[in-house]
């Protein structure tokens, strides 16, 4: 396992370099003049030219790339020009926990509900529960997140907050950056409830697609296992139906489900861009969107890099989980 992990870690820089390269090329080829954006609409041409010189936008593209890579290697993601030159690193440090919080909540909902639906569908295959859950799952994958978000707002907008992460009159202590944890640490129950209420709708909207995927995979995987000899043996030995399903079948059906959960987490980070926009959720999604609008090269590049990094790490973690769940992989034997 260690050798495998090391090999995976060795590829990581290569992946990140590729991402950074693509981001650089894309940003430099879209229309928009960053120097004009910095100098402002009313600035005379001379000021624009000065900014272009000072910021190095007039240098040959290869030199610009060299400077950019040099900075990246030092861990410097650059600065946000239009926001008093605030460090992109600081901005992302503020936003990333919010997005992770949203994605993790969505994943929790998706796995809990998805697993339940999937298991029930498999056990009562062909019955009305199966039909109902699979219809829900089909709807889940088909409905676009932003549209569902709007529907949720229409339906629950009168009882749940429709935008933001926390009511602006509350100030959460800044300890972890994760609002649920910070508000809990504050000891103020009303504030925690408020954070939870703000999280509910975005997390639900974001959860639908992975929920549907998890439900379908669970059902398929469970069906395969439920028919196997060891489950029948367990039942024959007098194990209760519930225990047979949960302890013997689900555990063995878990492998593909974990893979899917890992992959879905990446999708969630992407889906967060849409969800955050609909619910005005302060996180990486709204950050990327604003940065694109304002031609903030460094912010866009930094955000995409960090998200890619997170994605790769989560995939790695999934693979490790995989080997923990299935001893055969751990011991280098191919799964049957």
């Amino acid at each position: 396992v260690t050798a495998y992990l090391l090999r995976r870690l060795a590829i990581l820089p290569l992946v990140l370099w590729a991402v950074s390269f693509i981001v650089f090329v894309l940003l430099r080829s879209v229309p928009g003049d960053p120097a004009a954006a910095i100098a402002g609409e009313k600035a005379p041409a001379a000021v624009r030219d000065r900014v272009r010189r000072e910021r190095g936008f007039d240098r040959p593209i290869l030199v610009q790339y060299g400077i950019y890579m040099g900075r990246l290697l030092r861990g410097d993601l650059g600065e946000s020009f239009k926001h008093s030159n605030e460090k992109v690193r600081d901005q992302i440090a503020r936003k990333l926990p919010h997005t992770v919080e949203l994605a993790v909540s969505a994943l929790a909902i998706a796995s809990l509900v998805g697993l339940t639906l999937g298991v029930f569908s498999a056990v009562y295959k062909g019955g009305w529960i199966d039909a109902a859950s699979m219809t829900v799952a089909l709807a889940g994958v088909s409905i676009p997140v932003f549209w569902l978000g709007l529907l949720l707002i229409l339906a629950f907008g009168s009882v749940l907050p429709v935008s933001g992460n926390l009511d602006p009159t509350y100030v959460a202590p800044d300890r972890t950056g994760f609002l649920l944890i910070d508000t809990l640490l504050s000891g103020d129950a009303a504030m925690f409830r408020n954070a939870l209420a703000h999280l509910t709708m975005p997390a639900l909207a974001l959860a639908t697609i992975p929920l549907a995927v998890v439900a379908r995979i669970t059902r398929a995987s469970m069906l395969e296992v439920l028919d196997s000899d060891y489950v029948r043996t367990a039942r024959a030995k007098g194990v209760s139906p519930a225990a047979a399903v949960l302890r013997h079948a689900l555990r063995n059906a878990a492998l593909p489900i974990v893979t899917v959960l890992g992959l879905e987490f990446g999708t969630l980070l992407g889906g967060a861009v849409l969800t955050e926009t609909v619910f005005d959720w302060d996180g990486m999604g709204t950050y990327i969107l604003t940065s694109v609008r304002e031609t903030e090269y460094d912010s866009i590049g930094g955000a995409v890099l960090v998200l890619a990094f997170t994605f790769v790490l989560v995939n790695l973690a999934t693979d490790v989980m995989y080997s923990l769940l299935d001893p055969r992989i751990r011991h280098g034997q191919p799964p049957a």
Binding site: G40, A43, H83, S84, N85, P168, L196
Partner: protein
């Protein structure tokens, strides 16, 4: 903990989700985006200016809800006979939020900081409004209570510029103390002080109890970004916020009908217009431009794209700033006459092109509708208009390219003077910038330039009228409408908009 009690706890937690706010005395003001900086010298947009207009003071301001100048941090001012020296007598006993005294040294520091390229405390980015102050030769602290500006040439509009963003007086001690962090730690003399800024989340302003002027009625204002106007209005109706300063024009009716909300509208110093590339056929033919102007029924445009909340424009300058000379009717709509003019144009084909933005601006909240309207109207005189829309980054470059066709644009003036429309939008000096028609007419240029220094109001009006006459004759651009600004309010709040400034300190709770 037993399983049941855990369930009960969870239910209790979720049960009262729509808990009210923690601080009911705070006014919550929703707007479209958070500030990007709170350093006056760095500010370019109205969105950023809103907050600093309550945290800092300027030397001069506008009286009440008019656009006439009134004293603020300066008690009096006077021009020398040659118009090249401007002296301000400063208010005594004013202190900054950090306790340091406001004096002439602070005024000198504020201006030199963005005027001198080698100033040790200059902001990193160039001051976006620096060019409005480029006529200043030097600033001198004469006595602690008197500051003298020497100008490169006499300027009639200069005094107005002292209301602009960059002219908000900053605490020199704070600028030196915070350095590059000053934009997040602004210290001024204004009616509110910044007590908290969580970027992209909220700005909390608390009343400055040591304020020299009338103290604000509301002790705390929390300014939050809510990007979508629909969401913001939903929050307004639920009582989560009390002010929404970016409703769309289509929302006005909803807000008026809801018993919990109301609307305030106010004139704005904006204009929308069609521009023409005067270096390219057929747009360079005056008869073509006349035909287009005659074919556009601005009253219908107002209903279609502005929900009736705009007024037809005869000039780029809104009528509030040049009432006496405003022609009636403000524009002519005559399709037959338009066709007649068009016949005189040697057209190679019936196809012409209009480029437009796809993003909303205050002067064109619904650019697609305006573009479609133009296409529709011009079809009536036999022209086939090809529409091409661009997003912000692309459009800012597109209309400055040398071979662009017709374009849709608009302007928000910074100061209430016709010069702030004529010079940046039409003067030959501005061809690299906002004068995207490349209009460069000696007669017009001369009249505008002379009006900038003409101290006699009568003679100045004559020069401006001359410039206008020349503009109408050549029609390098066609003014469309002046739209009103609107704000959505909770009935619990009293607030009257000002045509130019945003004044949180003017809000109060309804009796």
């Amino acid at each position: 903990m037993t399983r049941i009690s855990r369930c009960v706890l969870l239910l209790a937690l979720l049960g009262s989700c729509s808990d009210g706010a923690a601080d009911p005395t705070a006014l919550i003001w929703a707007r479209s985006a958070d500030s990007s900086t709170l350093d006056p010298a760095e500010i370019e947009w109205g969105e950023d200016a809103k907050v600093i207009q309550s945290v800092f003071d300027t030397l001069v301001t506008y009286r009440g809800d008019t656009v006439e100048l009134a004293p603020k941090l300066a008690e009096r001012w006077s021009f020398s006979p040659d118009g090249k020296t401007l002296t301000f007598e400063l208010r005594k006993g004013v202190v900054f939020h950090d306790g340091t005294p406001f004096d002439s040294a602070a005024v000198v520091f504020t201006f030199e900081r963005f005027l001198k390229p080698d100033h040790p405390d200059r902001p990193k980015n160039p001051c976006p409004y620096g060019s409005s102050f480029s006529d200043i030769e030097k600033v001198v602290a004469d006595t602690p209570d008197r500051v003298v500006f020497t100008l490169k040439r006499p300027s009639v509009v200069m005094l107005y510029n002292f209301t602009l963003f960059a002219a908000h007086i900053v605490s020199p001690t704070a600028v030196r103390k915070y350095g590059s962090a000053f934009p997040s730690n602004p210290v001024g003399t204004g009616p509110y002080r910044l007590s908290r800024w969580d970027r992209d989340v909220r700005i909390v302003l608390d009343r400055n109890d040591a304020y020299w002027g009338p103290k604000p009625a509301i002790p705390r204002v929390i300014v939050i970004p809510v990007k979508s106007p629909q969401t913001a209005i939903e929050k307004l109706r639920k009582g989560e916020v009390q002010v929404v300063d970016h409703p769309t024009l289509a929302d006005v009716k909803t807000l008026e009908e809801d018993p919990r909300t109301k609307v305030d509208t106010e004139t704005s110093l904006t204009v929308s217009y069609l521009g023409f590339n005067l270096r390219r056929a057929p747009y360079n033919d005056p008869n073509f431009r006349r035909a287009v102007s005659l074919a556009l029924d601005r009253r219908t445009l107002n209903e279609l794209a502005y929900h009736g909340l705009a007024e037809p424009a005869a000039n780029l300058v809104p009528p509030a700033l040049w009432k006496d000379a405003c022609p009636t009717p403000p524009y002519e709509y005559d399709l037959d006459k338009a066709r007649e003019y068009l016949r005189k144009v040697p057209l190679e084909s019936k196809e012409v092109e209009l480029i437009h933005m796809t993003f909303s601006r205050p002067y064109v909240p619904e650019p697609l509708r305006v573009a479609e309207f133009v296409k529709d109207q011009l079809r009536k005189i036999g022209l086939d208009v090809k529409l091409t829309g661009y997003d912000k980054a692309a459009y800012d470059q597109k209309y400055k390219e040398p071979n662009h066709p017709m374009y849709l644009l608009g302007w928000i003036a910074d100061i209430p003077d016709p010069d702030n429309f004529y010079y940046p939008l039409l003067h030959g000096d501005s061809k690299e910038d906002m004068n995207a028609s490349f209009f460069d007419d000696p007669e017009f240029n001369d009249a505008v330039k002379r009006a900038q220094t003409e101290g006699d109001p009568g003679r100045r009006a004559g020069l401006l009228a001359k410039a206008y006459a020349r503009y109408r004759e050549v029609l390098p651009t066609i003014p469309l409408v002046h739209v009103r600004q609107v704000i959505g309010l909770s009935k619990r709040v009293e607030y009257n908009m000002h045509p130019i400034e945003v004044r949180f300190y003017a809000a109060s709770w309804a009796k």
